[in-house]
Amino acid sequence: MKRTLCVALVFQLLSSGCAVLGRQQKDHRLNPEAVAKIQPGMSKSQVTDLLGAPQDIIFSNREHDPLREHAYVFEHTATLYTAIVFVFINFGNSDEKRDRVIVFFDENGRVQHVGASLRASEASYGFPFGA
């Protein structure tokens, strides 16, 4: 399906010069191998050595220790744009997918859980139709 779409888009580009493909990326890419190395019990510095600085820190907001770091959020966003101009009708498509890793820490600052959804590479060019 993707191959057919690519052939169609290339043909369109060559024949009339009115198809545009665009890509936008935000923040650093996340290395799946580094993400897989994060295990429960690791310290915060071990996590940041592997993944770098987090984009966001979620604090506990509890009464007795409001500034305890509850979780680190690492994120990379990829957006692929398709624009096709047919004289009077223009079609656009934008697909945004993210790599997102959240590392939860316990009260001793050790890794408790890791959640990883690496889906940035699933972003695709396309038409504004279909599922």
């Binding site: 399906m1 169609a8 509850h70 934008s94 038409f127 139709f129």
Partner: protein, 354 residues
């Protein structure tokens, strides 16, 4: 006669301006990953843990921790922005009227976001769950037919020709003719088919004034076209509900081609190139070379009509406006520096899907 010609020219000019100045933009925006209803059902209050949830749903899009409770949200956005813009003057000139959609602007972002909210207690066990699916959400059908190739032979007859052939109008230089074509396509959704095709068009030459009181006659014009484009099919049953945006989006987002049946309005836009034959000309019965030289030019078309579709077969009838870049100078003594050749064609064809 002059007044009638003037009125017709004005009407054609107005139609051309409206068509070329009007732009319909359809943009689909998707953000995040779809939320599956069955995943939501797999979450059990007072049983599922935070770790189970991470394993099942992946990372949440938003996390807040307040007074010992974890609040998680998962979001998925899928919506269409549609807008109609009228530009003065029409493209490719710079617009005096701006580039925003000034006739129609539809966006339903807020209703087209699915969200799943979860609350965990201090023991990391699910305390509360809630789901809101977009109005346009429909459960995926595993038996859906998601793409098909199509073949479509068609035949059209031109009812009028437009454009300035320099020495005279094209409608005086050539007679109305026919066009026969064959399109191949890939139906990627019930409403949309990507098409690539070719056609042969022929117009017999006619007698016309040579511009200096004499008479001239043109040879036949033959056109060979290769174009690519998109064909949209809108079910007639959707027309009364066209302002019900959720219904329209459900139709656009459907990927089951088995739904592309019944009576439909179609709209087709194509662009590509056309090769034209040279056109002989005689002045007062004496051969005078070529009125237009053979050449190749960009061309484009816009068609609309009605079709009836069954699962594997469609038949359609409609009108098609087609425009071809000016032909080459043929080197005859007549004025032969023409404008774009345009034709209004009426016809129909069939579509076989496999």
């Amino acid at each position: 006669m002059k007044a009638r010609r003037g009125a017709r020219a004005a009407a054609v000019l107005a139609l051309g301006s409206i068509l070329s100045g009007c732009t319909l933009d359809i943009t689909r925006v998707r953000g995040g990953s779809p939320i599956k209803e069955k995943d939501y059902e797999a979450l059990s209050v007072e049983q599922t843990t935070r770790a189970d949830t991470l394993a099942l749903l992946g990372t949440p899009d938003k996390v807040e921790w307040k007074l010992g409770k974890d609040y998680w949200w998962y979001y998925y956005a899928d919506y269409i922005n549609a807008g109609l813009r009228f530009q003065i003057p029409p493209p490719p000139f710079d617009s005096y009227s701006g580039y925003r959609h000034n006739l129609l602007r539809l966006s339903e972002e807020s209703d087209a976001v699915s969200s799943l909210a979860l609350v965990f207690d201090e023991k990391e066990v699910l305390l509360q769950k809630s789901l809101r699916l977009s109005e346009t959400y429909t459960p995926p059908d595993p038996d859906a037919v998601r793409s098909r190739f199509v073949v479509s032979p068609r035949f059209d007859y031109s009812v009028d020709l437009y454009g300035d052939g320099d020495v005279d109008k094209f409608s005086d230089i050539f007679k109305n003719g026919y066009r026969a074509g064959l399109d191949f396509g890939w139906q990627m959704a019930p409403v949309a088919t990507l098409i690539i095709g070719g056609s042969y068009e022929e117009h017999q030459g006619d007698h016309f004034g040579d511009g200096s009181g004499g008479s001239a006659s043109a040879g036949d014009l033959r056109l060979y076209q290769a174009e690519i484009g998109v064909r949209l099919g809108i079910p007639l049953r959707l027309i009364p509900d066209i302002l019900d945006f959720d219904k329209v989006m459900r139709e656009l987002f459907s990927d089951d081609l088995r739904k592309a049946v019944g009576w439909r309005l179609y709209l087709q836009g194509t662009t590509g190139f056309t090769v034209n034959s040279s056109v002989d000309v005689s002045v007062n019965g004496v051969p005078a070379g070529n009125l237009y030289g053979a050449g190749i030019g960009l061309s484009g078309g816009l068609g609309a009509g009605i079709e009836y579709s069954s699962d594997r077969f469609s038949a359609f009838a409609g009108v098609d406006y087609h425009s071809i870049d000016p032909f080459n100078d043929g080197g005859s003594p007549l004025e032969d520096d023409p404008g774009a050749f345009q034709a209004l064609l009426v016809g129909g064809g069939v579509i076989v899907k496999f």
